[in-house]
Symmetry: C5
Subunit: 354 residues, 5 copies
C-alpha cells in the first residue's frame, strides 16, 4: 500500500513552498555530478558541495547537473536561489509522490516523471521520482536514490556518439526521458512474462495461490499505469505548446518519446485486459471443479443408496417374509442389485458424467 499512498500528513498546514521531504526516509549521502560539454570539449566532475555547480549556470555550453538524493533540503534551497527556481518547484522535487507532469516557468521547464525498477525479491515494481529542470543551457536532474539508467547517456556524451554533443540542453533532456521510457519496455516485458507464467499455471493447476498472484499482478499493472499514463499528457503538451526552450528539430524526437509512451500504455492496457480474462477463467475453473466433485458424490450415492435400501429390506426380522425362505432368494437379490447398478451406470454414461 505504501507504494500507492505516501505519507503527506506531516506536510499538512505548512505554508506552500515549505521544503519538507516526503517519501521513504533515506540516509545515504547526496551525490552531485556535473557534465559540461559542447561539440569540442567535455568537463566532468563529481562535487560535494552544491556551490560548485553555480559557476556553470552562465556558461554558454550545455551543463547537466545530476543530483542523487533529494532528502537534504538545504542543497535544494541553495540550488533554487542560484538558478531562480520557484519555491513550488522545489517543493514538488521533494514530494516524491507527484504525478508525472510538466510545468512551464518561462525561463525553465519543470518535468516530473517516474523511473521504474523491478525488485526481484518482492516481485514488485518500484517507482522512483525523477525531476528534470530544463533551462536554455542546462539540465538539472533529481533522483531519489543512487543508481540510475543514465549510464548509456553519459557514455554517449563522453565518447561523442550520436549527435548528443552537437545539440543543446533540450536534446539532452530528450535523451534522459527517452532512456527512462525505453526502460519501461523492460519492466512491461517482465510483467508480460509473469502474466504468461500465471496463465500457464491457470491452465495446468489453478490454486488459490494463482488467484492471489493474478490479483498481485493486477495491482502491479495499476501501479505501472498510474506511473506511466500521465506521461502521455506531459510529452504531448511538450509537442503542442511552443516553448522557446525546445527547438523545432528536437520536437521530432519528443514525438518519438510520445509514440513510445503510447505504446507502453497500450501494452499495459492489453495486459490488464488479459488479467481480467484470466480471472474469469479462474472462477469458472473453480465452478468446474465443484461440478466434478459433485458428480463423483452423486454417482456413488445414487448407485449405493438404493442398493443399501434393498439389503436393508432383507435384514428385517418379520416373522413372515416369504423371500427369506426361498432357496435362491439371496442370489436373486444379488442379480437385482447388479441390474440396478448397471442401469445406473448406463444412465450416467448417457448423461455424459462418466
Amino acid at each position: 500500500m505504501s507504494r500507492f499512498i505516501k505519507k503527506r500528513a506531516k506536510k499538512v498546514g505548512l505554508p506552500p513552498g515549505s521544503l519538507v521531504h516526503i517519501g521513504e526516509t533515506k540516509t545515504h549521502k547526496v551525490t552531485i555530478s556535473i557534465l559540461n560539454y559542447d561539440e569540442t570539449q567535455l568537463h566532468e566532475k563529481e562535487v560535494t558541495t552544491i556551490e560548485e555547480c553555480f559557476s556553470f549556470k552562465d556558461k554558454p555550453n550545455v551543463t547537466w547537473i545530476d543530483i542523487d538524493g533529494v532528502h537534504e533540503v538545504e542543497i535544494l534551497e541553495k540550488l533554487g536561489t542560484c538558478f531562480g527556481l520557484h519555491p513550488l518547484v522545489l517543493e514538488d522535487v521533494l514530494n516524491t509522490d507527484q504525478r508525472p507532469k510538466i510545468e512551464d516557468y518561462g525561463d525553465y521547464t519543470y518535468i516530473v516523471l517516474k523511473m521504474i525498477s523491478y525488485n526481484d525479491k518482492t516481485n514488485e515494481t518500484i517507482a522512483e521520482q525523477m525531476s528534470l529542470i530544463i533551462g536554455s543551457n542546462f539540465v538539472i536532474s533529481f533522483q531519489e536514490k543512487h543508481g540510475d539508467v543514465f549510464d548509456p547517456v553519459r557514455e554517449r556524451i563522453r565518447s561523442d556518439k550520436g549527435q548528443i554533443r552537437k545539440l543543446g540542453a533540450d536534446y539532452l533532456a530528450y535523451s534522459l526521458m527517452d532512456t527512462i521510457v525505453d526502460n519501461y519496455f523492460v519492466i512491461v516485458e517482465k510483467m508480460g512474462e509473469r502474466i504468461e507464467d500465471a496463465e500457464e499455471e491457470l491452465v495446468t493447476n489453478p490454486t488459490s495461490q494463482t488467484l492471489q498472484s493474478i490479483h498481485n499482478l493486477k495491482k502491479e499493472m495499476m501501479f505501472l499505469r498510474k506511473s506511466v499514463w500521465p506521461l502521455r499528457e506531459v510529452v504531448n503538451s511538450l509537442d503542442r505548446e511552443e516553448s522557446a526552450l525546445i527547438k523545432k528539430t528536437t520536437l521530432i524526437y519528443f514525438r518519438d518519446v510520445y509514440d513510445h509512451t503510447i505504446q507502453v500504455v497500450d501494452t499495459i492496457e492489453t495486459l490488464r485486459e488479459m488479467l481480467s480474462g484470466m480471472l474469469d477463467i479462474y472462477l469458472s475453473s473453480i465452478s468446474n471443479r465443484l461440478n466434478a466433485v459433485m458428480k463423483v458424490l452423486t454417482i456413488i450415492a445414487t448407485i449405493f443408496i438404493p442398493l443399501t435400501f434393498v439389503v436393508g429390506i432383507y435384514g428385517m426380522n418379520f416373522k413372515y417374509m416369504p423371500e427369506l425362505e426361498w432357496h435362491w432368494g439371496y442370489y436373486t437379490v444379488w442379480i437385482v442389485m447388479v441390474l440396478i447398478g448397471v442401469l445406473m451406470l448406463i444412465y450416467f454414461r448417457k448423461k455424459k458424467w462418466l
Copy 2:
C-alpha cells in the same frame, strides 16, 4: 444515507434566494472571527454581532472574516446586504449539500468546497460544507461547525511566516483551499490503511463481515469521490478563466492546488479499483470454501456408503447365504472393506483432493 441525500424537501416551492438552512440542525452559537492584516500590522478579534465586520469592508488591507455556523439566517442576510452578495450566493451558503463549484460574480468569486473529517467512532468520513467569498481585499469563509483545519494558516499570519502577509486576499484564499486539499491526503491515507486491513483479513480469514466492510469502504470512497471530484473542475476553471481578483503570480499556486486535487482523485480511483479486486477475491474465496466443504463430504460419503452397503448385505436374514456359514467369512469381509477404502483413498489422492 443521510450523508448522500440531505433533506431539501422543505425548500421546494420557495422563491429563489429564500434563505433556509438545509442540513443537520445545529444549535451552537455562531462565532465570527476577524483577521485584518497587511505587511506591517495585524488586527485580530472575535466579534459577536455581524455588524462589527462591516467597517472592514473598505479597508485597503486584507480582511479574513471566518464565520463558524451557517444556521442563523439573519447573520447571512445582513452580511449579504453589506457586502452586496447575490441572494443566490446566500442561498447556496445555507444549502449545505452543494457540489463543489465556483461562480464568478465580477466583484467577488464564490467557491464551495468540502472539508472532510473522519469520525473514528462510526468509521465514516464526514463532509462539512465550506464556502469562500473572495473579494479584492477580503475573504469570507463559512463553515458548518466549530473547529477547522485553518489554525496553521492563522498561525502563519500571526507569526508572519512565509509570504502570506505580503500577498493579497487571493493568496489567503489559496492558503485556505490548499489547507483543505492537503487535509484530503490525511483522509485518503486513513482509508488506505483501512483497505489494507480489510485486504489482510481477506487473505487470512474472510467472513461475511469482511464483505460488509469492503462494501462500506466502497461507499466511503464513493462519498469521498463525490466530494473531491468536482473540485478539479473548480480549481481548473480558476486557472483557465482570467479573473481580475486572482493575480497572475497567485495563479501558479492555484495550479499547485489543482495538481494536489488530481493526485487525491487519482488515489481515490486506485483505491476504488483495489476494492473491486478485493470483491472478486472474496467471491472466489467463498467458492473455494464451498469446494473444500464438498470435498470432505464427498470423501466421507464415497468411502462409507459402499462399505455400509457391504455390511448391509451380510445383515440380511436369508436362510440360505453360504458366506455366513464360512469360518473366515467375517474376516474376508473386513479385508474386502479395507481394500475398498484404500482404493478410494488412492483415487482421491490422484484427484488431488487429499
Copy 3:
C-alpha cells in the same frame, strides 16, 4: 415497460407537423388558466376556449398561459396559428415521449422537460411531459394532466413575494423550471429511502423478493436518469448560447437550475452505484447461505455415516464373529462410536465450521 416506450407506431408515415397525440389516452377536459401581471397589476382567469388567450399576445406585461392536457389537438392548432408556432413544435408538444430538449426559434424558445411524480401504490415514478414556450412577454406551459407543482409559483405571483412580479417572462420560465427541478429532489429522496430499506433488508433477511426490489429500483433509477440527464444539456445550452429572450441577470438564475440538475444527476449516479454494490452483496449472501447449508449437511453426514457403518458391521449375521460373543462388546462399540463422533467434532471445530 410502457413507461419506457410509448406507442409511436400510429404516427409512422404521417407528414411532419401532423398533430397526433402520443401517450396515454386521456379524457379529462383541457383547462386553460391565464395569469397576466406586472409590478402593479394582476389579472387571473380560467378560460374555456383558447381564443380568449389571444388578446394577451401583444400586451406588454407578462402573461402565463397554463394548459392542462394536450390531447385536444384543435386547441393546439389554434394556439399555434395565433402565436406563430412552428408545426414541429406543436407536434413535439403532443408527442409526450420527447427527451428533455431546448430549441431556439428566434421569436420564442421551446423547452421540453419532465415533471416527475411518485405513485405510492405501484411504487413507480411517473414522468409527465412539460412543454414550455418562452416568448418575450409570455410563457405558455403545457402539461399532460391536471395537478402540478406550480401552486407555490402562482402564490408568489399573487402575493407579490420575491421579485417575480418585477421581472419578465424569462424569470417566470426560470421559476417554473426551478420548481420542477426542486421537485426532483423530493423524488430522489424517496428513492434514497427505498434503497435504504432494501439495504436494511439485505443485511437482515435477504430473499429473492429483495433481489426483485433491487432490480425494480434499478429500473426506476434508469427511468429517472433518462428523464433528468438530458436536462443538463438543456440548461447548459441556455447559459451558453446568447438568446435575446433571456436577460443577463436572469442567466444567473438559470445557472442555479443547472447546479441543481447536476446535483440530482450526481445523486442518481451515486444511488445507481449503491444498487450495483447491493447486487454483489445479494449474490454473495446467496453463496454464503449455500455454504452454511452445505456445512450442516456435511457435519451431520460425516459424523453419522461412519457410525452407521460401524453398527452395520455388528448387524451382520456371520456365524463366527468373535466380538458379538464378548460380554463388553456392545459397550466397547459405543465407546468407539463416541470417540469417532468427538474426533469429528474436534476436526470441524478446527476447520471453523462450528
Copy 4:
C-alpha cells in the same frame, strides 16, 4: 452471424470503384419508379430501362428516382455516368454492409442508412441498406429489395398533403429519412415487447431457454445499435455543416430527425441495460434454485441419517445388549427418534429453511 459480417472477401484486390455487388445474392428484377412533381403538376411512371430517367436530370422541378434492387451493376454504371456520380459512391451503393454515413460531394450529397424490418418467423431484425443521393432538384434512392416503408410519402406527394409538393428535393430527402427513423420506433417497440415477455418468463419460470432468448435479444439490440447509432453523427453533421443543397428552413426538420434518432438510440441503450439486469436476475435465480434443492436434501438427510444410525444400533447382534431385553425398549427407541426428528424440525424452522 451473416447479419453481422457480409462477405467482402470477393472484393479484395479489386481496384477502387470496381462495381461488385456485396450482400445476399438477389435475383428479382430491378424496378425503377420516377416521381416528378412541383406545386402544380405531378408525373409518375414506372420505367424498365434506366435511360428513361436521364431526361429528368435537368428538369427544374423535383424528381425522385426510386431504384429497388442494386444487384444489376450496369444500371448503376449508366446512372453514375449520367448524373456524374463518383465511382466510390457507386461502389458504396453496391456494398450493402456500409455503416450509415454521409458524404458531401459538392453537387450532391450521399447518405447511407439502414431500413430495418422484423422477420416474425426467425424473430430477427433485418437491416436493408438504403442509399440516398440528394441533388439540387432530384433525390435518388436505392433499396436492396422490393417493398419499402415509403408508401405514405408517395401518397402525400400524390394527394398534395402537407407541404411536400411546395418544398424542394431537400424536403423530400428529409421525408424519406424521417419515415425510416419513424419506422425504427416500431422495431424498438417490438423488441421492448419481447423483452417484456422474457422478463415475465424470468420471474415465473426461468429455464435455460430464457437465458438463450435473453442472449438473442442482446444480439438483436447490438445489431440494432450498430445500424442506428452512426446515424446520429450523420444527421448531426447535416445540421452542422452548411451545405448549399439543404435550405435553412429544411434544417429545422432535419433537427427533428436528429431528435428522433437520439430517442431511438436512448431507448436501445435503456433496453440493453434492462437485458443486463435480467441476466443478473437469471444467474441469481439459478443460485437460488440450487439453494432450494440443497435445502431439501439437507433436511431429509440430516433428519433420517441420525435416525438410521439409531435403528442400526439395535439391529446389532451382540449377545449382551440389555436394551433389547427391556419390555418397553422398542417404544422407547421410537420416542427417542420422534424427539430427534422434532428437534431437527425446530432447528430448521429456526434457520428459516422451512
Copy 5:
C-alpha cells in the same frame, strides 16, 4: 505473448536513430522490387543491391520500391541517405512493434500499418509491420517477410486497369493501404466463423475446452483491435491535415479507406461483445449443470434415505416388537414404503424437478 510484447530490451540505452532490428530474427535474403510507371510506360525489375534504386529518385514518373525484409540494416542506411530519410524513420521501420501511426516530414510522409494474416495451424492471427514512405513521386514499402497481398495492385499497374497508371504516388499509396484494409475483412470474417463455431459448441456441448477457445478468441480480438484501432486515427489525420503530398482528388479515396477501417473496428467491437455474452452463457451453463447433478442426487437420496430408515426399524432385534409378529407386517411395510416413494415423486413433480 510474444505477439503482444516484442523484445525491445536490447535497444535500451542506444542513442535515438540507432538502427537495430527489433522483432523475430529472420534470415531470408532481402528482396527489392522496383516498379516505375506513368500513363505511357512501365519499367519493372527485381534488384539485388539497394544502389540500383537510387537512380529512380529523381525520375518524374511514379516509382514504387518494395523491400521485403527489414533485418538487413545496411540496406536501410543507404536508402535513408539517398532519399534523405530522418534517422527516427529508419529506426521505426526496424522496430517492428510500432503502433500504426503517421508522421509528416514535409518532403515525405511516413505511415506504419499492420498487415494481418491468419496462421491456420496455430489458429492465430499474425501481424506483420508494413511501413510506407510516400514522396511526391515515389512510394517505398517495407515488409517483414516475403509474400504479400499486393499482387492485385501490381497486376493492375501492369495491365493498366483502373486509373492507377494515370494518377500519382499518392494514389499508389492509397491502393496499397486499401488492399491491406480490405484484407482485414477477410481476417475478421474468419474470426467471425470461428466465433460462430464456438457459439454452436456452447449450445450443444460446452466443455472447459469451449471456455479455453472463447478465451483464445478474445485474445485474438484484442490483438486485432490493437493492430487496427490506431489506423483510424492515421487515416483520419491524413484527411484532416492538408499535406502537399496528397492531392485533393485522392483524399476522397483515403476517406473511403477511413470508412472501411471504421467498419472493421466496428465489427471487431461487435465480435468482442458477442464473446463477452458467450462467457456469461458458459458460466450459467456450468451452474445449470451443477443444478441438474444436484437434483438427481437429491431425488435419489430423499426417496431412499427415509425408506432405508424404515427397513432399519424392522431390522432391530428388540425382543418385544409387536409388528414383527403380525402376519401381514412385511406387506404392510412394503405398502407404506411404496406410498412414501410415490408421495416423494409427486412432490418432485410439483417442484418441476422431474
